[in-house]
Symmetry: C2
Amino acid sequence: MARKAYDLSKSYTMLERAEQVVPGGVYGVRSVRFAVYGKYPQFIREGRGSRLIDVDGNEYVDYISAFGSILLGYRHPRVEGAVREQAERGNAFSFPSDRWLELAERLVERVDVADWVVFGKNGSDVTDYALRLVRAYTGRKTILVGAGAYHTFQPWGVPLPVGVPEAWRSHVDDFRFGDVDSLEQVFARHRGDVAGVMVSPFKHDAFHDQEIPSRTYTDALREICDREGALLVLDDIRAGFRCHPTGLSHLAFGYQPDVICYGKAIGNGHPISVLVGTEALREAASRLYFSATHFFSAEPMAAALATITAFDDEKAFAHMSQAGKALCAGLEERANAAGFRVRITGPPTMPFLRFEDDPQFELARKWCGEMALRGVLVHPVHNWFVSAAISDDDLVRSLDVAEECFALTRADRA
Amino acid sequence: MARKAYDLSKSYTMLERAEQVVPGGVYGVRSVRFAVYGKYPQFIREGRGSRLIDVDGNEYVDYISAFGSILLGYRHPRVEGAVREQAERGNAFSFPSDRWLELAERLVERVDVADWVVFGKNGSDVTDYALRLVRAYTGRKTILVGAGAYHTFQPWGVPLPVGVPEAWRSHVDDFRFGDVDSLEQVFARHRGDVAGVMVSPFKHDAFHDQEIPSRTYTDALREICDREGALLVLDDIRAGFRCHPTGLSHLAFGYQPDVICYGKAIGNGHPISVLVGTEALREAASRLYFSATHFFSAEPMAAALATITAFDDEKAFAHMSQAGKALCAGLEERANAAGFRVRITGPPTMPFLRFEDDPQFELARKWCGEMALRGVLVHPVHNWFVSAAISDDDLVRSLDVAEECFALTRADRA
């Protein structure tokens, strides 16, 4: 029997109110306009494990996972317990808490690349720090990034640079991800002035098939950086804790970075970002000014400590991988059965599904919209995040709904 | 009887450990080196109302207040209750929570300037947004700021721009705070290209006496901006909720801004920053890209809602003002009795004390260090923040300790 589509009237009434008091209503990736207007919930009342409940009371199996911030599931008992315990002592103080030191030591012990660590709040705080660091160390200016990659909302790399002077985006050039020739060419254009290369572990740009790098590429990145006297920065903010049993994506793909940025998953829903670096960079790092009101707050530190422990103890990576593989295989099978050819790319923990011959993502938006209306949150143009809370029941439900929605999408096209 | 100086051995043993895993140990304003190395606690175990307890178990009356983030006292019951209640539903979701809309509507209703609002995490997130906004609206590039004022840790205004290319700091010029002639001169230098002026409500730069602006100056700011087609941005991140019974500093000093930035106090220890703007700017605002993982997280929204309610209900401003006045009067009296002339500047809720004839802050460091060692946290080079949790007992204790420490400072000088 066909499922009844959810009623979203409260969400959209609230969105109308939001449009009165916030320009454009909801901004950034959390706007339903980034997915499908009218078919996704815009306001959430509650999260629980793998599930979200919206303000209309509809329940969803969530594969968006707060755009990667949720790793172990919403309100994970050990993480929330640790936060609550810290809350009994406080969050922001005039000086750091003991949790801050504990987390710094834990990360230096855990991450092979890490001889030292600093903490920020947004991912962009630490990618900005990385740029300053490699420039301070090398005395050079140019930064190279993968074309189309997202590393910051700050002026130097914001995708839509409205209101940003051109000069504030200078000294940045790009190359094609995974393409050694392209990398050599851009180095040649800036010979002697490349301070560093910033890359994500795999290509996970919105609106594109994801690309897993070859060892040839990751080896070449290191060799070319060494030859040219440039540093290698890995932006593992989105992919961290989702590509390798240790959580460290560079080990999955063979990167040998000088600096790694983490964020999102490491706090399981609590705001913290992290930058780790090698001994050689310590002196340069000690010369940087890096300060904000909440960089030292204790609750997200407690959350990160508990998240890392639970990630290990609960074998979260193995579970996520298995769930992700089952999801991807099941979706491909059901898509094919409905007469669609789809490409599912990226690691199974962070899949992205694209319909073939769907350059404007119309089929994707139709299918994903119908999925949302029936209780499964996937995204038409952004990669998904499979959390460790996804259960076998969630998978069964997700694939049942998917089958129905592929049929609806086929009917709509016909 | 003279008080025994606190034992800080755990703090400084931990700082030695921190120096192994973090460049420079603790960075930013929370480093004891920014105050007095060896005399301030570096690690805090717990906050409670007006008090901090460090990892050695020493208790302090705290006038640093997490550098302004603590307005009503540590672990304020209503604020923490609201956060705990929200934590039962979750913090970060794939879409915004209902708390987000509730706070947006509350601020638009409360702040006369606000026809709309956006939220960030760091103060710097919203000062950066303000720059983009005034540039997008005017199509111009130049931003004017008060010389020496702190508005951001991002490249355009970071105080120590190590690793920042000059081009990334272009299109910014400055004038002397409170000086209309200086403002006119800098406008003349950039005639036709000034997008906006960003100012703090009063001059609260570290290492300087604070300055309260005259009405002549605040009126002139508006007139000159209007005449020149520039916008006026008030950075109320540090001073907000500490200058006026409504919390809105522009009402205290007569500013008529187009945009206001808030942060710090508004979350009473929880990370949130806010930008409000006028109707005229709504369209430009809707064109900006502004997105980060935790901009929509619900717990700091719940904290801000509860903070504003408690600020009003508990007449926090009146209480802080009264406590601040008593503190300042008592300190001046005891300083004078000990033979010191001091200048205490700024609003009583955010005082800064400087010894006369102390250009290198040596007396300030001596006195403040002794204060810290005896349980009162004030700062030698940064303004203080009097929280609403300061009690009469706290004041008595603070002034007793101050008297003893002025005597110690005098003895040291002799």
